[in-house]
């Protein structure tokens, strides 16, 4: 290691220490306490010194071990390169392996109730990530209000199912359709916006939907939420221990012992199928003219116009298709929980889904899976340390951005090739 590099690393970490001092000095160092009914400032310089030292030393090690000179320009690290090379060349085998693993997962010996619940939650986030990947990854529209479509899907599913008593397979497409319509509704006013402006308006849209759900009491029961959403049935066979008179249930029909796990396993396969549909649909549509137009729009809108591509229709289809899959996922959420309230659709959900897409590598389907496992897994591991969960989440994002600045999987495959592949 040459001296110059060591020197600049040292300088950089000292600077980091200064920033940490400026930030943590007033926030952590100066604490006000009430003494005899008067507020007194109580300095805590030792804590500040520890934090500053931690930041500076940490930065120094990051400098030395990760920002090796040739990598300073955002080049992926060698480990990352090896991983993505592996994923690129063995991509289809890995995907097949992952699908097979997902299919046999419920029959693994360790797959108890806890693991199944986590698997279902991850699958839901993977599906949402794949849906949002269309809007952010392909069309390049930074949508921070994606949870709104998840909410619209969940509520429209719940309302249809409660009030009309329609079955899951009728309510699901209707909920998707509704969410898609909301996608277009959001799309129209933001057609001219890009980047930060678009992000702010979509964020506001997400909040508007949540507040609407909170206040439209006659329809949504506001903060009380909707209860009694019908549980899904296996093609008409309910999962119930004590069925109503004359009604066949799943376990009696198949001659099985009743177990609450049957319903969980069914829900797992349901979300697996929905997620895979989302995935294969996206892979396919990316290779169609509309998918290519989405990506072209992300690259250069003016060039698109000069070639006669209609930017309005192209953007609206991206919003609508992305929203539709959000709506499907919402339906699943509603039927799984049997209870929904606006609390489940806060901004933090949108933020997590955006993080999944961005950290996975914009537009990469496999990247979404990897970052979901990483991020949701991390949140789960920290479940017992409630207050540190978000710190861990943020830390994980920082780590990925340091080691893989363009996301876990950044390589993009062309949608059509001149030379036949392999």
């Amino acid at each position: 290691m040459d001296k110059n590099f060591l020197q600049s690393s040292l300088k950089d970490s000292l600077f980091t220490g200064l920033i940490a001092l400026a930030l943590f000095g007033p926030i952590v160092g100066l604490r006000t306490v009430a003494v005899n009914e008067a507020l007194v400032v109580q300095p805590k310089w030792l804590v500040v010194a520890l934090i500053v030292a931690f930041c500076a030393i940490g930065r120094f090690f990051i400098n030395i071990y990760s920002f090796k000179k040739e990598q300073r320009r955002g080049e992926p690290s060698s480990l990352g390169k090896a991983i993505s090379n592996f994923l690129d060349t063995k991509g289809s085998q890995i995907a097949l392996g992952a699908i097979i693993f997902s299919v046999i997962f419920p029959f693994m010996p360790f797959a108890d109730r806890y693991w199944m619940d986590i698997a279902i939650m991850m699958m839901t986030y993977i599906m949402l990530g794949w849906g949002l990947n269309i809007v952010i990854g392909l069309a390049g529209l930074l949508d921070l209000g994606y949870v709104a479509f998840y909410a619209v899907g969940a509520y429209s599913y719940a309302l249809f199912a409660i009030h009309f008593g329609w079955s899951f397979w009728i309510c699901l497409p209707l909920a998707g359709l509704f969410a898609g319509m909301f996608g277009i509704l959001l799309g129209f006013p933001v057609l001219r916006l890009r980047g930060d402006y678009l992000a702010i308006v979509t964020l506001a849209f997400g909040e508007m939907i949540r507040i609407l759900l909170l206040n439209w009491y006659t329809l949504t029961k506001g903060p009380d939420g909707l209860t009694g959403i019908p549980r899904p049935s296996f093609f008409g066979l309910p999962f119930k221990r004590y069925p109503d008179e004359g009604v066949e249930t799943f376990h009696t029909f198949f001659g099985l012992e009743y177990s609450p796990m049957q319903r969980i396993i069914f829900l797992y396969y349901l979300i697996l199928v929905l997620a895979l549909i989302t995935n294969f649909f996206t892979i396919k549509i990316r290779r169609l003219p509309v998918g290519r137009a989405w990506e072209a729009l992300r690259e250069d809108e003016i060039a698109c116009k000069s070639l006669g591509v209609n930017p309005r229709n192209t953007k609206l289809t991206a919003f609508a298709v992305g929203a539709m899959f959000g709506g499907f996922a919402g339906s699943f959420f509603a039927t799984r929980q049997a209870f929904i309230s606006p609390e489940s659709f806060t901004f933090i959900e949108s933020a997590i889904i955006v993080a999944i897409v961005v950290l996975g590598g914009m537009g990469s389907q496999t990247g979404v899976v990897l970052s979901t496992i990483f991020l949701i897994g991390l949140i789960e591991v920290f479940r017992d340390f409630e207050s540190y969960r978000m710190v861990a989440f943020g830390g994980a994002m920082v780590l990925i951005m340091i080691f893989r600045p363009k996301g876990i999987l950044a390589k993009r495959k062309p949608t059509i090739t001149m030379v036949k592949e392999k």
């Binding site: 649909f281 396919k284 549509i285 169609l288 003219p289 509309v290 290519r292 137009a293 990506e295 072209a296 690259e299 250069d300 003016i302 060039a303 698109c304 116009k305 000069s306 070639l307 006669g308 591509v309 209609n310 930017p311 993009r412 062309p414 949608t415 059509i416 090739t417 001149m418 030379v419």
Partner: protein
Amino acid sequence: MSEKLLSVENLTMKFGGLIAIDDLSFSAMKDQITSIIGPNGAGKTTVFNCLTGFYKASSGSMFLNKDNKTLDLKKFSDFKVAQKAGVARTFQNIRLFPQMSVLENMMVAQHNKLMAASGFSLLGLINAPSFLRKEKEAKEISKYWLDIINLTNRADDNAGDLPYGDQRKLEIVRAMCIEPYLLCLDEPAAGLNAKESAELNKLLKFIQKEKKTGILLIEHDMSVVMGISDHVVVLNYGKKIFEGTAQETKKSPEVIEAYLGTEE
């Protein structure tokens, strides 16, 4: 004498107090290369932006004769000029889709016909043979053009990774993929070396002669202009100061004073 393809009449474009184009009239013939020259800031790019619907002209009119019909270009907004009127353009600062492959760039240019063939994606999703046939055709058209500019072997590389000269040529053939009646090129020779410049001339000649496409060319490089233009329009401060053949332009005292004189 060939037919008139484009006629611009009394075109004026104002940006606040600045008059970028001042009462400009000229016409371009079918199967001809018409050059617009003039010093920096003369308003050349603004003419293109008005023609292709990126700016709304303050006054004046622009007509395109297409299949014996006269289209009023003012009635078309940005993307419709390319889609409906068949006017294609390139940009002074190249605008490719840099993270997409060369072939994908060519396919996006054929978006409208492919979109129709894919039945708004429904036929495409089920791999309908009619769509696959169209897609194959579009790929062949792309290959045809890439062969002409010797880029077929790089068809699967990102467009942004090409050398500068190839990016220029790619932008031109990409524009040709919409099968335009009029092709507007904004300084295509800027930044090219002598060899690339000569190749560009050949390409433009080919488009003019074989494809019967009218070309409107903004150019600074006099060797390009004088070598291939059939007709030259000279702008200065938004006004037309001369119009004629390349030879006439070279000799015109006004032009020499306003433009050529200061350059050489």
